[in-house]
């Protein structure tokens, strides 16, 4: 039981440790900054959780995010209402996820390969439509999504929690979530049981795309810039969050709570290192080591349970 709680305890320990180690950590300003900085990755990681549970993987999220942010920014920049821009961003995410899902299910190509390919394609589209230049002329009100606050709490935290609640609901309390676990655990058995596997897999990639699109809009709003090069490397951070939180790349395992804990462990490590003056070069190595350590501990726990 204690081992199962290990990621959570690690997060608490990290939080407590940083509070003691530096006076700059436990301040409203710093915590709000952590929340804002990690929100984008965390929202993407929620989508990634679904995809990984269903036995897939999406390496193209960074590019999807950039494309959504870019198109959303262009829409808002041309004077359309903010909500229309938001809708464009989200729908772009859904469309990109749908394409990934269809390629995986219809052509039966390994998702790693499919999304490695679309990672390049979506990024290329970003660069082509923007000419490689950032888009900036957005109305002030658009900043609220990424930088606004309600009751002194960053607005993105509400957004993140709403997304987390939605994904948790979907995974644990709906048919689709149940099917996602079954497909990830044994797609063939799910097919034999009469489940429309292709449909659900495609839908899950699309749902992941929706969240990635939202993340793209948050990022754009935070920076007030549509960056065609945004989000590079985010896919690995999102996958890391899922895996630290107990998700299995073999599919069939993972949870929203675990992913959030995983994401915040990485967020605190990075923030703490900054505050403590640890070199950003070393930070990368630390986070890498934590990923491996988390998976090793989780594997050991599972093996002990199996014995």
């Amino acid at each position: 039981m204690i081992q199962r709680l290990l990621p959570f305890l690690t997060l608490i320990a990290l939080f407590a440790g940083l509070s003691l180690a530096t006076p700059h950590f436990l301040t409203v300003v710093n915590l709000a900054a952590v929340i804002r900085q990690t929100a984008v990755i965390n929202i993407i990681a929620l989508g990634m959780t679904m995809v990984i549970i269903a036995g897939g993987i999406d390496l193209s999220v960074g590019s999807i995010m950039a494309l959504c942010g870019l198109l959303g920014a262009m829409t808002v920049g041309q004077g359309q209402p903010i909500l229309v821009g938001l809708a464009v961003g989200l729908l772009t995410g859904v469309a990109c996820g749908l394409v990934n899902g269809l390629l995986v299910t219809k052509l039966r190509i390994n998702p790693f390969i499919v999304t490695l390919g679309t990672l390049g394609i979506y990024r290329g589209v970003c660069l082509i439509i923007s000419g490689g230049l950032p888009i900036q002329n957005m109305p002030k009100g658009f900043a609220f999504l990424g930088e606004g606050a309600i009751l002194h709490i960053p607005f993105v935290l509400y957004v993140l929690f709403a997304c987390a609640a939605g994904v948790h609901m979907l995974l644990e309390h709906t048919r689709m979530g149940r099917y996602a676990f079954a497909i990830g655990s044994n797609a063939e058995a799910a097919f034999y049981a009469g489940i429309p596997v292709s449909f659900h897999v495609t839908a899950i990639y699309a749902a992941g795309g929706l969240l990635t699109g939202l993340a793209g809009m948050v990022e754009t709003s935070r920076l007030m810039t549509g960056q065609p090069t945004a989000g590079q490397g985010y896919e690995l951070q999102a996958i890391a969050a899922v895996v630290i939180g107990g998700g299995s790349l073999r599919g069939g395992e993972g949870s929203v709570v675990g992913t959030l804990i995983g994401a915040y462990i990485m967020g605190l490590l990075s923030n703490g290192s900054d505050l403590l003056g640890i070199s950003p070069y070393l930070q990368q190595a630390i986070i890498g080591a934590v990923i491996i350590l988390a998976v090793v501990l989780d594997e050991l726990r599972k093996r002990r349970m199996a014995a």
């Binding site: 689709m176 149940r178 044994n186 009469g194 489940i195």
Partner: protein, 491 residues
């Protein structure tokens, strides 16, 4: 020998003595401790207590390499071969004939393997890729590997559980030939009819204890069954057929190029129909085609008198069909998920509204089915992969009971499950038929078919070659199954 895993005692008092040049049968229900005992012998696990003597000397095997070095080899139930390598490469895996500079002598590997295969008259080619072999061929490769290692004790873990009768006889021939050359053989099996043909002596394990050891001549099959289950059991289960009711399933002129040719059959309510045939005759393929897994080229399928188009398992399930597949782990269960989720997989619509699950309803359905099936699991949350074979099979069956299916296709339902569970499964099939369902049962064990089926369809080379009454004989079934069939190809 003693061995425990966490709180579970796998082996309480395991004793076994094997003599030179004998076939020693090891019997016991699933979970009796046979596999644990064998894994200790093979160096894959360490005992908590107990002693091991090898050729008169106390030994302990810290790992498989040590055990193999001493001369112990294990032919596994699930093949442990490298599928992308050739037969020859697999035989010599780990001890390749060496060439200078750490290179591998490919030509000699191939030649050595060829010679070995010829010596034993195996229907194999040294340069075949293992991936393309069926289960029988793979087992032959494992046997060759053991021979090539010069092993003096060979452990067979249910070698024939995935083989047809003809293939099994081939394995028996090989086992006897090896014994006659002085090799000792430990042979684990569930198939009672194999016993008489094969064993010199027998040991029975029950609940981790050795309860019986004797020469085969001094005991009867009924005795052995009694020792295995620990309670008297009707030696033979025999279903009482009932008059068939309305037509449930009709298949008309079903074709699948190269696999199924002009298949027509009918199943009626209350019937259990057997489907016999050799491996490769098309029995599993017929089930897959009816159930919409493989597309059909021609023919029609009728359910309760209405034509239905079945293009996927989903269509089949909606038409009221259920398939209990041959390979539970691969096609039947999500082994990493809990019992409850596996059992509800086909009927989530019934426990949800607008896509949202009603957990109370889920619980009710699962506990009702678990009770009906006499399922032995610690809780509905237990991981399905940790159940015994028999209980895993019950979970798959429970999935279709929960769904309320009325046409059941059982593909080798009793494979790899112990006698107690086997009879429970047969009873359940009978109960389903009595409740108005139609049951089709594929089996490679003729004895099973004779016990359970009201009539028996025999397939040969993709066709239905004969329809026989339930009270036929094994010889009659075999005659139709093998007629003009020629010797079976392993590949």
């Amino acid at each position: 020998m003693q061995k425990r895993f966490g709180g579970v005692v796998a082996l309480r008092d395991g004793n076994l003595e094997v003599r030179r040049g004998e076939v020693h049968l090891l019997l016991g229900e699933n979970g009796a401790g046979k596999s644990t005992l064998m894994r200790i012998l093979a160096g894959m696990q360490q005992p908590d207590a107990g002693t091991l003597e090898w050729q008169g000397r106390p030994v302990s095997f810290a790992n498989p390499a040590e055990s193999q070095h001493a001369g112990v080899a294990m032919v596994h139930q699930e093949s442990l071969l490298a599928p992308h390598l050739t037969v020859a490469e697999n035989i010599y895996l780990g001890r390749e004939p060496a060439a200078p500079f750490g290179l591998v002598h490919r030509r000699r590997t191939l030649e050595d393997a060829r010679r070995l295969i010829e010596q034993h008259h195996f229907p194999l080619q040294a340069d075949w890729v293992v991936q393309r072999l069926g289960p029988a061929g793979r087992q032959l490769v494992e046997i060759l590997r053991a021979i090539a290692h010069g092993s003096s004790l060979l452990i067979f873990d249910e070698p024939t559980s995935s083989l047809s009768d003809a293939e099994s006889r081939e394995v028996f021939r090989i086992v006897r030939a090896m014994r006659d050359r002085g090799t000792s053989i430990i042979y684990i099996t569930h198939r009672m009819e194999e016993l008489r043909e094969l064993g010199d002596r027998v040991t029975v394990l029950r609940d981790g204890e050795t309860v019986f050891t004797a020469g085969m001549g001094e005991t009867t099959t009924a005795d052995l069954i009694r020792h295995m289950v620990g309670r008297p059991l009707e030696a033979v289960y025999q279903r009482e057929p009932l008059p068939p009711g309305a037509e449930m399933l009709r298949v008309d002129g079903l074709e699948r190029r190269g696999v199924l040719r002009g298949i027509s059959l009918k199943l009626h309510a209350g019937e259990v129909v057997g489907l016999a045939g050799l491996i490769g005759a098309g029995r599993t393929e017929l089930c897959r085609a009816i159930f919409g897994i493989d597309p059909i080229d021609a023919g029609s399928i009728w359910v309760k008198g209405h034509p239905v188009r079945i293009r996927s398992p989903r269509d089949a399930v909606r038409a009221g069909m259920a398939l209990i597949p041959e390979d539970r782990q691969k096609n039947g269960l999500a082994v990493g998920l809990p019992v409850a989720q596996n059992m509800l997989l086909a009927s989530l619509e019934r426990v949800s509204s607008f896509g949202f699950l009603n957990h109370a309803k889920e619980h009710d359905v699962v506990s009702a089915q678990a009770a009906r099936l006499n399922l032995k699991s610690s809780s509905p949350r237990q991981i399905a992969g940790k159940l015994s074979g028999g209980n895993q099979q019950k979970v798959v069956i429970g999935r279709w009971l929960a769904r309320g299916a009325s046409i059941f296709l059982f593909d080798e339902p009793a494979r790899g499950i112990d006698i107690g569970a086997k009879i429970e499964v047969f009873r359940l099939m009978d109960e389903l038929a009595r409740g108005g369902a139609a049951v089709l049962m594929v089996s490679s064990e003729l004895q099973e078919l004779l016990q359970v089926a009201d009539r028996i369809l025999v397939m040969r080379q993709g066709r239905i070659a004969a329809e026989l009454p339930g009270r036929t004989t094994q010889e009659e079934i075999l005659r139709h199954a093998a007629l003009n069939g020629g010797p079976e190809q392993v590949q």
